[in-house]
C-alpha cells in the first residue's frame, strides 16, 4: 500500500506553486518562486565586467551563483553568512543553470545570480533554481532553454515528488531519500543530481520519470509568469 502523505497530496503531486517575475526593480532580472511553504527569491545582475581580473575568461562570460538561507527562514535562526552547505549549493546551482546559458557573446564578463530563501520547508535549492532560471530569462540573456528543478524522493518504498520538511525527516522502513534534480525544460538533459538517503539503482529510472513529469508542470508555471511581465 502506498504511503499517505502528511499534507494529503498524491505521490506525484507538487505543492502549490507561485511564480512572479520582476520583483526587484534594481536587478537586470528577478523572480520569486515557491513550492508550498518554501519561498526563494532571485536577482540577476550583469553581464558586467568581472573582477578580480584573473578570473576573466576571454572565450566566454561566466555565471556566478550565490545561494543562502536568510537567518529567519528556518526554525533555529541561521547564523548569517556563508556556510559550507550554502557554498556547496551555490556551486551546484551554478552547474545546474550554466548549461542553459550562452555567454560567449560576453567575453571577460560575469553574470551574477543571487538566490535567497525567505522561508524554508525543504526543496530550497530547487525553488531557488526555478526562480533563478526565470530571473535569467527576465534579464534577457541568451538561453537555450529554461531550467526546471524539483526534489523527488523515496519514502520507505514509494517514489514521491516535491518532499516537504516532515517528509524529509521520515524515518520508517527504508527511510527518506532526498533526490533533487534539475533539467532542461524541453529536453532530456539533467543538469543537477544530488542525493541523500537510500535508493536501489534500478529504481532511479522511476525517479527520473517522476521528475520529468513534474518539471513539465513547473515549466508551465514559469512560462506563465514570464509572459505576464511582458504584457504589462
Amino acid at each position: 500500500m502506498a504511503i499517505k502523505r502528511t499534507d494529503g497530496r498524491s505521490l506525484t503531486e507538487l505543492r502549490p506553486m507561485i511564480a512572479k517575475v520582476g520583483v526587484i526593480p534594481n536587478a537586470d532580472g528577478s523572480a520569486i518562486f515557491s513550492f508550498g511553504d518554501t519561498v526563494a527569491i532571485a536577482a540577476v545582475y550583469g553581464p558586467k565586467q568581472l573582477h578580480p581580473q584573473h578570473m576573466q575568461d576571454p572565450a566566454t562570460g561566466i555565471l556566478r551563483c550565490t545561494y543562502d538561507l536568510l537567518s529567519f527562514s528556518v526554525h533555529d535562526r541561521k547564523k548569517p553568512g556563508p556556510s559550507r552547505r550554502s557554498q556547496e549549493i551555490s556551486k551546484v546551482t551554478e552547474w545546474a543553470l550554466s548549461p542553459a546559458l550562452d555567454l560567449q557573446g560576453f567575453p571577460n564578463q560575469v553574470v551574477d545570480v543571487q538566490i535567497y530563501v525567505i522561508q524554508a520547508d525543504a526543496g530550497t535549492r530547487t525553488a531557488g533554481i526555478n526562480a533563478a532560471s526565470m530571473a535569467l530569462a527576465h534579464a534577457g540573456l541568451p538561453m537555450k532553454d529554461l531550467i526546471c528543478s524539483v526534489a523527488c524522493g523515496k519514502l520507505d518504498k514509494d517514489i514521491v515528488v516535491d518532499l516537504n520538511k516532515d517528509e524529509e525527516d521520515f524515518k520508517d522502513g527504508e527511510g527518506a531519500t532526498d533526490f533533487p534534480l534539475a533539467k532542461f525544460a524541453t529536453s532530456d538533459e539533467f543538469t543537477l543530481m544530488q542525493l541523500d538517503g537510500k535508493i536501489q539503482p534500478e529504481r532511479v529510472k522511476e525517479v527520473i520519470e517522476a521528475a520529468t513529469e513534474a518539471c513539465k508542470e513547473i515549466y508551465e508555471v514559469q512560462k506563465k509568469a514570464l509572459k505576464e511581465v511582458v504584457k504589462h
Binding site: R84, Q87, E88, K91, V92, W95, S98, P99, F179, K183, F184, D188, E189, F190, T191, L192, M193, Q194, L195, D196, G197, K198, I199, Q200, P201, E202, V204, K205, I208, T212
Partner: protein, 270 residues
C-alpha cells in the same frame, strides 16, 4: 585550484575516449591498481592509506567524548573533514578552502553516514549527555585524479580497524592506554564511492589528473549494501555538462557490477 586543460589535450582525449582508448591502455571503465595499508599513525584510533595508481590518500579516525546533537540525543556524532594540502599537488594552494576542499569531505560524509556502516546508537556514553564523536579526517598525499573514490575506500578501511579508547574516571578519553574495544561497524555494508566522468559523449572511470581536468562533468555515487540490496546513499553531479536519462540508466546498470568488482579487489585488504 584546478588548472584549465588545453584545447589540444581536450580534443585528443575526446577522440581517444571515442575509440575506447586511454594513454595508459586501460579500458574506459577500468580502475588502476588499488592498494590499501593500515596504521599510518599510531596516535589515531584507526587509519589507512589508499593508493589508486599514483593517487594516494591517508585517512585517520579520532574518537573523542562530546555532547550529542539535540536532534539525536541517543546517537554518537560523525564529523568528516579534510584538506587538500599543498603537499599533495602543485594545484593545491594554502589559505581558505576552495570548493574542491569543501566538497570532498561533504561527499564522504554523506556516503558513510547514509550507509549506516557506523552503528552510532552504540556510541552513547551517557544518554542525552555524553556520546562519542567519530572524526574522519582525509588528507591526499599525492593527487593523480579520482580523489573522492580513493578517500571513500580509505574512510571505510580505517573505520573497520578503528578502536574506542578507554575512558578516564573524569570522563575524558585515556589515549595512553591501548584501546581494545572495536568501533561498532555493521558488517557487509562496505560503502564505496563510484564516480563517472564525462567528456564529449564518452563516460570514463578512475581518471588520472590530466583526464579528470579535461572532463566536462563528474557524477559521484556513494553505494553500499543494505539488507543484501545495493543502495545508492549519495550522489552529486558536478561541472557544467549534462547527463541524459539514457546515460543515467546506463550508469545505474554499471553501479552494482562496479561495486562488486571493487569490493572483490578490496577483500584482501578489508
Amino acid at each position: 585550484m584546478a588548472m584549465k586543460s588545453t584545447n589540444l589535450t581536450i580534443n585528443t582525449l575526446k577522440r581517444m575516449f571515442k575509440e575506447g582508448k586511454r594513454f595508459d591502455d586501460r579500458k574506459l571503465d577500468e580502475y588502476r591498481k588499488i592498494e590499501v595499508s593500515y596504521d599510518v599513525s599510531n596516535k589515531a584510533e584507526g587509519s589507512a592509506r589508499v593508493k589508486i595508481g599514483k593517487t594516494e590518500v591517508i585517512v585517520g579516525i579520532k574518537l573523542a567524548p562530546g555532547t550529542p546533537y539535540p536532534d539525536s540525543l541517543d546517537k554518537g556524532n560523525l564529523m568528516v573533514s579534510g584538506d587538500l594540502l599543498p603537499l599533495a599537488s602543485p594545484r593545491f594552494e594554502s589559505g581558505p578552502p576552495g570548493f574542491a576542499a569543501i566538497e570532498l569531505p561533504r561527499l564522504i560524509d554523506r556516503a558513510i553516514r547514509e550507509s549506516h556502516i557506523i552503528e552510532l546508537d552504540k556510541l552513547v556514553i551517557k544518554e542525552g549527555e555524553k556520546v562519542w564523536t567519530v572524526f574522519i579526517d582525509i588528507y591526499p598525499l599525492n593527487d593523480d585524479g579520482n580523489l573522492i573514490d580513493a578517500a571513500c575506500i580509505g574512510a571505510t578501511a580505517a573505520l573497520k580497524k578503528a578502536k574506542i579508547p578507554e575512558l578516564n574516571e573524569n570522563g575524558t578519553a585515556d589515549y595512553e592506554k591501548k584501546a581494545k574495544k572495536e568501533l561498532p561497524i555493521s558488517e557487509g555494508i562496505e560503502p564505496l564511492s563510484i564516480s563517472f566522468f564525462k567528456l564529449g559523449d564518452s563516460i570514463i572511470m578512475d581518471p588520472t589528473r590530466e583526464e579528470e581536468e579535461a572532463c566536462e562533468a563528474r557524477i559521484t555515487f556513494g553505494l553500499s549494501k543494505w539488507k543484501k540490496q545495493y543502495m545508492i546513499n549519495s550522489c552529486q553531479k558536478s561541472k557544467e555538462a549534462t547527463f541524459s536519462s539514457a546515460e543515467i540508466e546506463k550508469m545505474m546498470e554499471m553501479l552494482p557490477k562496479k561495486f562488486d568488482h571493487l569490493n572483490e579487489k578490496l577483500k584482501k585488504f578489508f
